[in-house]
C-alpha cells in the first residue's frame, strides 16, 4: 500500500533522514521504533507532505506522492495525526470533525464516517459541542485521531498517540487504534516511544536510528529488551 524507498530529508543543514525504506501493507499495523530525535516524526511528516522529502520515493498504491502538497496526500487517503494534535482550539469538537471531512470525497461520506468515529470514541459524542480549548489531554488526542479518520483515510500515520497520557487513557487510545484497524481495515504506521504498547499492537516493527533503518522484524521475533538494547 505504502512504499517508502531511500527517503532523505533535512532541517536546514542537518540531515535527519539518510535514506529510509519501509513498507506498509494493506490492513497492517506497523510500528516505527527508535530513540528520540533520530527521524521517526520526520519520516511521518515527509510521507504526509508537511515536511519536504529531499530525495528517494514515496509510493501510495504504486503512485509517486513524494512531491505532492499535503492536501493532495489527504485526498489520496493518507491521514497524519501529529503528536502536537493541532486542533482548532476555538471550535467545538463537532466543528473539528466536520473540518476533518474537508475533502470532497470525505464530505460525501460524512454521516457514515461520523457514525464510525462516534462508535470508536463514544466520549466525543458527549463532548460534541464543547470547545476544543477546554478538552483534557486524552480527549484532545481522541479528537485528533477522530478528525484524521473523518477524511476517510485508508492509511493512518500516528505520531506518539500516548505521549503525556495517564496509563488508563493510554490503553483506551491503543484500544481505539486496534478497533480502527480491525473494523475498517485501515493501515496504521505508528510511531511510539513506549515499546511495550507498540509491540502489543503491531504486526511488524522497524527500528529507525540516526536517520536509517537499523532492522525490520515481525513482532513475534522481537522482545522489549532486545529493542531497548538497540536504542543505545
Amino acid at each position: 500500500m505504502l512504499r517508502v524507498r531511500d527517503v532523505t530529508s533535512s532541517y536546514g543543514d542537518i540531515q535527519v533522514l539518510r535514506g529510509v525504506s519501509l513498507d506498509l501493507g494493506d490492513g497492517e499495523i506497523v510500528a516505527l521504533l527508535g530513540p528520540n530525535g533520530h527521524g521517526k516524526s520526520t519520516l511521518l511528516k515527509a510521507v504526509a507532505g508537511v515536511h519536504p522529502a529531499t530525495g528517494g520515493s514515496i509510493e501510495l498504491n504504486g503512485e509517486e506522492i513524494r512531491t505532492e502538497p499535503p492536501h493532495r496526500i489527504v485526498e489520496r487517503g493518507v491521514a497524519y495525526i501529529p503528536e502536537e494534535r493541532y486542533l482548532f482550539p476555538d471550535m467545538t469538537v463537532f466543528e473539528n470533525l466536520r473540518l476533518g471531512a474537508y475533502t470532497r470525497r470525505a464530505r460525501e461520506r460524512f454521516a457514515e464516517n461520523l457514525a464510525f468515529v462516534y462508535e470508536i470514541f463514544p466520549r466525543l459524542r458527549e463532548r460534541r459541542d464543547q470547545a476544543c480549548r477546554s478538552l483534557s489531554g486524552g480527549e484532545s488526542r481522541m479528537v485528533a485521531i477522530a478528525r484524521g479518520l473523518m477524511s476517510g483515510a485508508r492509511v493512518l500515520l500516528v505520531d506518539e498517540p500516548s505521549i503525556g497520557l495517564a496509563p488508563a487513557l493510554k490503553k483506551d487510545v491503543y484500544e481505539a487504534i486496534r478497533n480502527i484497524n480491525r473494523q475498517a481495515g485501515i493501515s496504521v504506521l505508528l510511531v511510539e516511544q513506549e515499546i511495550e504498547y507498540a509491540l502489543r499492537l503491531a504486526e511488524r516493527a522497524y527500528l529507525l536510528k540516526k536517520g536509517t533503518i537499523l532492522f525490520e522484524r515481525p513482532v513475534s521475533e522481537l522482545d522489549v529488551a532486545h529493542v531497548k538494547e538497540a536504542y543505545f
Binding site: S10, Y11, G12, K45, V50, H51, P52
Partner: protein, 349 residues
Amino acid sequence: MSTVWRRAMPLVRPRYLLLAAVGAFLAAWPYLGADRFVLHVAGLTLVWAVVASYWNLTNGFAGITSLGNMGFFAIGAYTSAVLAKELGLTPWVTMPLGALVTTALVTVLVGLPVLRLRGIYIALLTLAFADALPSVITIFRTWTGGGIGLLGIPELLEDLEKWQAYYFALVFFVVAQVTLLLVVRGAPGLAFVALRDSEAFAQALGVDRFKEGLRVFAISAFFTGFAGALYAHLLGQISPAMLGIEQFLMVISMWMLGGAGTLLGPVLGAAIITFGNEYLRVAGSLRLGLLGLAIVVTVLFFPGGIMQLLGGARRALARSRGSGRASPRTPGAAEAAAAPAGRTSEEGR
C-alpha cells in the same frame, strides 16, 4: 622588513583600500570642483545615511520592526530648533540637547511600551507614534510654526557655506558610522544576532530581550535625533512634511534597497535615493511611482538589496578567477536557500 610587511598585509585587503579611497574622495570632494548644489545634496545624503543606518540597526540587525524613526528625527529637529530660536542658545548646545531629549522621549514613550509587545504590534505602535507628531506640532504652533514650519533657525555658523555644511555632515556621518560599527560588532550586536537567530537559546545565555531592545532604541534614537537636529541647523528651516509618508517611504527604502542587515547597504541606498530624488524633482509625481516600483521590485526579486547584487557580482568574479572565497552575508540571499520556514509550511509559526 618582511615581518612588518606580513603584519601589514591584512590592512591592504582590497576592501580597506577601497574604503580608504572612498574616504579620501569624500574628504576632498569640495576641492574637486563639486558645485554648491552637488555639495548640498551630498550633505543631505550623509545625514540621511545616518538615519537610514540607525533605522537598519533596529530593524535589520535587532529584528525590532520599528516604523517610527522619522518621529525620532522630527523630535530631534524640532527640539533643537525651538531651543535655539526661542532661548537663543547656540546650535552646538541645542543639538546634543535635542538628541538627548529624543533619546529620553523615545525610550520612555515608545521603547518601554513597545518592547513588551511583539512583531506587528511594535510596527503599529511606532507608526502611530510618528503619525501623532504632526498634531502635536500643530498644537504647539506658537513655538513650532504649525503646519507652515519653522523658518529662520540659527545655522551652525553665521552665513554657513555649503562646503562647510558638507564637512559638518561628513564628520557627523563618520562618528555615527564608527559608533554603529562598534555597536554591531561589539557585545550588543552579538546579543541581537543571538536574539534574532534563536530567542530561547539567547535567553538561556542570559541575554535579556527587553534590556537589549531598550538599549538599541536608545542608541538609535540618539543618533536619529542628532541627525534631525543637524538637519535643522544645516538647512535653517524645517516643516512637518518631514513626517509625511513620502519622506518616511524614502528613508525606509534607503536601507531596504541598500540591503537590510548590512552596514554599507543603507549608505549606498541613501546616496541613490537622495541624489535620485533631487535630480528627479522636475518629474513631479513620477518620483512617487518610481519609488513604489523600486520597493516592489526589490522585495520580489532582490530581497537582499544592492548588497545582494554586489555580493552576487563579487561571487561571479571570484568564480571566474577560480577562487570561491567570497561569502554571502546578505540575509535574503543566504536564507532564501535555507530550510523552508515561510508562512505556508508547518514550521512557519
